[in-house]
């Protein structure tokens, strides 16, 4: 049921959401989250981001978390698209669309998937800033956001 794609190309968030609801009348809530490349981070400017990923594992790891989300919430459709390659401020990076009969499940599942994508899916961001490049450090706030979900569910793999 879920659509999971890794791609270099841009995506159309509205079109992806429409694909999940087309021809259905049981869906009452659609949450669409898009992560976008911004021009600043922690006080410095960001000229571009390059996303590296682990082909194969990235798809599998996202699929594991989508399956976990489908176990936790009554979802009626899920799409996750994560781009790789070079992106400039304003470009889309990641899309999560979740559908359910009611909003609580759709909101929670979208947040769950994003928190896990940040900390568990094998992607690495490299920033270009003022002529230099630097690998982005993980954020404690992202780890804390992902750990919240551990308290309400089982842990399926080692950190």
């Amino acid at each position: 049921m879920a659509t999971i794609r890794l791609q270099r190309e841009d995506f159309d968030a509205a079109a992806e959401a429409a694909k999940l609801t087309r021809g259905r009348s049981d869906i009452g809530a659609v949450v669409t989250f898009a992560g976008v490349c911004r021009d600043h981070e922690a006080g410095h400017g960001v000229a571009a981001l390059t996303l590296e990923h682990y082909p194969g594992m990235a798809e599998e790891e996202i699929a594991r978390h989508v399956a976990e989300a489908e176990k936790r919430w009554p979802l009626l459709g899920v799409t996750v698209i994560h781009r790789y390659g070079r992106m400039v401020p304003g470009d889309n990076i990641v899309l999560v669309v979740t559908c359910s009969a009611h909003r609580a499940a759709a909101f929670a599942a979208a947040e769950f998937l994003m928190d896990y994508l940040k900390t568990r899916a094998p992607f690495w961001k490299q920033e270009e800033r003022a002529g230099a490049t630097a690998w982005v450090d993980p954020k404690d706030t992202d780890d804390a956001a992902a750990e919240r979900w551990e308290q309400t569910g089982r842990r399926d793999a080692a950190e």
């Binding site: 790891e61 992607f123 690495w124």
Partner: protein, 85 residues
């Protein structure tokens, strides 16, 4: 036993390779043993693994801890903490 090692992000940059096939010496049991052995293979490896606690690992595309057994792994990957999304 030979295994494919894959490196990503700054681990890849420090080692200077995206992947390699290595013959594992007898006696390596865990991922931590493998990291210690790799760190002794040269300056670039020592640099990549200078803080082994920071480097994450996956066996056959599944996250593992340093105490995970290598077993019959075909592909072991090393990478920094993930920063996707």
């Amino acid at each position: 036993m030979s295994v494919t090692l894959r490196y990503f992000a700054w681990v890849r940059e420090r080692i200077g390779k995206t992947e390699e096939v290595v013959e594992l010496p007898a006696g390596l049991r865990t991922v931590g043993d493998l990291v210690a052995w790799l760190a002794g293979r040269g300056e670039e490896y020592a640099h990549a693994f200078e803080n082994p606690k920071v480097v994450r690992a996956a066996i056959d595309r599944t996250h593992v801890r340093p105490d995970a057994a290598i077993g019959q792994a075909r592909e072991i990957a090393f990478f920094p903490p993930m920063t996707g999304g």
